[in-house]
């Protein structure tokens, strides 16, 4: 069947057989491979996208069920050369090594900061507990995002 999904503000119409996940369709049919295929069973968060306002594992969403939806993927956060503050924070903190988990962290952290621009360390840990990183041990990710939260708090004062 033919489905249409609005991804990062652009309408994509593709034909699907039926069993494909949203992740598969993003990566294989829409030329958006930024969302990553690390576990494909909803455990690692590497495929995180925002689907109609909620962060979801795109590997667990049937593409046909996303028909008519609005999706934001990791490719939709930087404005050309201007990075999203969360992307800058991850780089500055040293939170990017192999980078395979990074797209998921960008999406999940950006949504956290959208809702709560000044999260505490515990709030960051809890919000990102569904995203697995195998390289950093999480410390550098945490420090980068704590600095962003501190900057946001300072800017609001």
């Amino acid at each position: 069947m033919r489905i249409t999904i609005t991804v990062n503000g652009v309408d994509h119409s593709v034909d699907v057989r039926g069993p494909e996940s949203l992740l598969h369709v993003l990566r294989e049919e829409m030329a958006l491979p930024g969302s990553k295929n690390a576990c494909e069973q909803g455990e690692c968060g590497s495929c995180s996208v925002v689907l109609d306002g909620d962060v979801v594992c795109s590997c667990l969403v049937m593409a046909v069920d996303a028909n008519g939806s609005t999706v934001r993927t990791v490719e939709g956060y930087a404005d050309h050369d201007v990075l999203h503050p969360v992307q800058t924070a991850l780089l500055d903190g040293g939170g990017v090594q192999c980078g395979f988990c990074t797209p998921g962290f960008v999406v999940a952290a950006a949504e956290l900061f959208d809702v709560n621009p000044t999260p505490t360390s515990d709030e960051i840990r809890e919000a990102l507990a569904g995203n697995v990183c195998r390289c950093t041990g999480y410390g550098a990710i945490l420090r980068g995002l704590e600095e962003l939260a501190a900057r946001n708090a300072g800017g609001g004062a």
Binding site: A38, Q41, A78, Q87, L91, C98, F100, R134, G137
Partner: protein, 740 residues
């Protein structure tokens, strides 16, 4: 021509936290990993795998599968055109099953089809009948039957030496998985002239290349292996997984073929950390001086050899740890079974024995009534001492006592933080009453060789090219995420005084091997090669022009810019190539004696845990470390290696284990193979000791593995301290704490 005469200083050289050049594409989702690659008209590859740990194949019929729509090729053992086996140390593993399957998940056939779904249907249509055989899965039984990849004995000193205080124990470590987040993946594109280009995530493209051309039976120049983006490795990408299969399918069909393992397949598609069973006896004087250490180490290599012989050697050579002892006997046995093949994982044999000897050091301290940190200090190995196992004289730096003393001086964290359930054992499951929680603190010290050992001809090639816009570093060294790419740039910047440095990953036809990204070796090897090549190029340029300085603007003499960089690039010299080796190492003698290593590093870890003794739940609160790093080249990247390595050590201590049943992996997925998450991550306080290595750029030592070695026994020791339970096996399960 106008020359400016203002010198500019380089900003992102050695010692700075220079930015990763691949950082921006990675945060934008634009970085191309091997699983992201595609080509016009590419077919999908897929692999049929054995459902048995040991069986004879009595019938293999691909006929029905060939009739599945969309299928282009199905290849089996008979279709392997050249050498039908491959392997890292010795070619002993069939490219596709040779009529017998020896482990669960062994590849039997590969398929190329129009898309992933067609390929999956074709796999289902292949008819295989098996005569199921009894798998040999007990390593002790395998040892009795002499089913081994290597047995070795390390003997040193007086075998009659006896201590007044003796402690003995058995220790076990489970089978850990590297679990890099990027799955095995690649793209093979036939070149139309009988050759193939393979784009793949690997730790060592040239050793893949050797095995591919042998299996294809083609001259080496027919195959080019290109490094693609690598989503972590940790040892899992040192062996061939899908490389040969992809090239066979591409050559056979004449079309590009992609293959991406899913997570379940990844778990059987790469080797694992060897599980171990160890027996130790430590003997000491009443004042805590080690007199004799004897050990028997039994590691299971699984069905095929991979790097098992080298892992066995490492486990045995580091079986005593960074401690002086003049009487040592270590027996090592690496078995061959029908369990999943094991090979390289961060720490490479030194992890297993460290859990053994550090558990023993605590047991000995207890028997002596001595502080465990004092016991370690009393026996700390130092330059001028001899390795307790091999007898090798320790040269260069080995600040064992200093890492221990500085670790002890780091302030401990305050008591239980019950402000948020995340800090409690059991976490937000709210299972634990804060009043029941007990805290424990444990120390451990570990040691490892850096770079390859035992007379291996360990080299790396680098080519430096000067261009009008900067410097190119050409290498085949794999950047797996650790930041080698940044360190190479920093070294070139500092030597050449040029800010713009690009690292170009050459394919196997363009440059010689860089060796493996493993054994904590690339900073010293490829980093060392960059230092050598840039220094030699600079010196050639200065000599050619009678100059005293080179930078991005050109060549300077006595404060005057005399030759612009444009002119320099035209006139040369503007290119320099090195094949760089570390000082040679020796083969061991029959008693395991000899100068088998080139360099060492030590690290010490202190773990603080909170335990719920009723439920057997552990929260690792903090892991502090002091590591011998020689020289800090990039502080941010170094902390990344240390914190990430500790997390894998914590994983082995409390949660990570492949569970086997008759040779089958029962938890080949991220639901049941538990990886530490943000909720499990301890805080880390990391300090460095900078005593320069006798070999290494600017005195730097490799830093990737030491964090993973002694962090595991430190956590185990902390759990022992909290609970009083013996804790002789990792990962520690709730049952071990509750005492069921």
């Amino acid at each position: 021509m106008t020359f400016t005469t203002q010198r500019r200083e380089v900003r992102s050289g050695v010692g700075t936290s220079a930015d990763r050049p691949d950082g921006i594409p990675k945060v934008k989702g634009n970085f191309a990993y091997s699983s992201d690659l595609s080509a016009h008209g590419a077919l999908w590859g897929a692999t049929l795998r054995s459902p048995h740990a040991h069986a004879r194949i009595t019938r293999l019929d691909i006929g029905p599968a060939l009739r599945v729509p969309g299928v282009s090729a199905i290849l089996t053992y008979d279709d392997v055109p050249g050498r039908k086996v491959f392997g890292l140390e010795e070619a002993d593993q069939p490219v596709l099953a040779d009529g017998e399957v020896r482990y669960w998940g062994e590849p039997i056939a590969v398929v190329a089809a129009d898309d992933a779904e067609d390929a999956r249907r074709a796999l289902e249509a292949i008819v295989v009948e098996y005569d199921v055989l009894e798998p040999l899965v007990d390593p002790e039984e395998a040892a009795r039957r002499d089913e081994t990849f290597r047995t070795m004995t390390v003997r040193r000193g007086d075998p009659e030496a006896r201590g007044e205080v003796v402690v003995e124990g058995y220790y076990d470590t489970g089978m850990q998985d590297q679990a890099p987040l990027g799955p095995e993946a690649g793209l093979a594109i036939p070149d139309g002239e009988g050759g193939v280009d393979l784009y793949v995530a690997t730790q060592w493209s040239h050793v893949d290349h050797e095995q591919i051309v042998a299996a294809l039976g083609v001259p080496p120049d027919r195959v080019r292996v290109h490094l693609s983006g690598i989503g972590g490795a940790f040892g899992a990408r040192e062996d061939v997984s899908l490389q040969i299969h992809l090239c066979m399918l591409a050559m056979h069909t004449g079309r590009p073929v992609r293959m991406v393992y899913n997570r379940a397949e990844s778990f059987v598609g790469h080797v694992h950390r060897h599980p171990s069973r160890m027996w130790y006896r430590h003997e000491a004087t009443r004042d805590g001086t080690l007199v004799r250490v004897t050990a028997r180490l039994l590691l299971d290599g699984g069905a095929y050899m991979s790097s098992s012989r080298a892992v066995m050697a490492n486990a045995a050579y580091f079986a005593v740890g960074p401690y002086r002892c003049d009487s040592v006997e270590v027996h090592g046995v690496m078995t061959r079974t029908n369990n999943p093949p094991c090979g390289a994982m961060r720490g490479f044999g030194a992890v297993q024995s460290c859990f053994g000897y550090e558990s023993q050091m605590d047991r000995l301290a207890d028997a002596l009534g001595m502080d465990p940190v004092e016991l370690r200090l009393r026996n700390a190995l130092a330059p001028g001492d001899h390795m307790p196992t091999t007898g090798q004289l320790i040269e260069g730096s080995l600040p064992t006592a200093e890492v221990i003393e500085r670790l002890r001086a780091i302030p401990l964290p305050s008591g239980l933080d019950a402000t948020h359930p995340l800090h409690l054992p059991g976490g937000t499951g709210l299972t634990t009453s804060p009043g029941d929680v007990v805290r424990g603190v444990g120390y451990a010290v570990g040691m490892k060789n850096l770079m390859f050992s035992e007379a291996f001809d360990d080299f790396t090639e680098v080519r430096i090219v000067l261009t009008p816009v900067g410097v190119e570093i050409h290498t085949a060294a794999a950047e797996v995420g650790q930041g080698l790419i940044t360190v190479c740039q920093q070294i070139a910047r500092s030597v050449l005084d040029m800010e713009h440095v690009a690292v170009i990953f050459d394919d196997t036809s363009q440059i010689g091997s860089a060796g493996s990204t493993s054994a904590s070796r690339q900073t010293q090897m490829t980093g060392g090669a960059v230092l050598a090549a840039t220094t030699e190029l600079r010196d050639r340029i200065l000599a050619e022009y009678g100059a005293d300085r080179l930078d991005a603007q050109g060549v300077w003499r006595e404060g005057e810019l005399t030759v612009s960089v444009d002119e320099l690039c035209q006139r040369g010299p503007a290119e320099h190539h090195v094949r760089f080796r570390h000082p040679p190492t020796a083969r061991p003698d029959d008693n395991g004696q000899g100068d088998v290593h080139v360099d060492f590093a030590v690290a010490a870890h202190r773990a603080v845990v909170d335990v719920d003794p009723e439920l057997g739940l552990v929260r690792v609160v903090r892991v502090d470390t002091v590591q011998d790093v020689g020289k800090v080249l990039n502080p941010r990247a170094l902390v990344g290696q240390i914190e990430g390595g500790i997390m894998q050590g914590v994983g082995l201590a409390v949660m990570e284990e492949l569970v086997l049943d008759g040779g089958r992996i029962r938890n080949a997925n991220f639901t049941d193979y538990l990886l530490p998450t943000f909720a499990d991550a301890p805080d880390v306080v990391a300090e460095f000791v900078e005593e320069p290595s006798h070999f290494g750029p600017f005195g730097a030592k490799g830093a990737g593995e030491p964090p993973t070695i002694s962090s595991t026994p430190a956590v185990a020791a902390a759990i022992r301290a909290a609970t009083g339970r013996p804790i002789t096996r990792v990962p520690v399960h709730p049952d071990d704490i509750i005492g069921l």
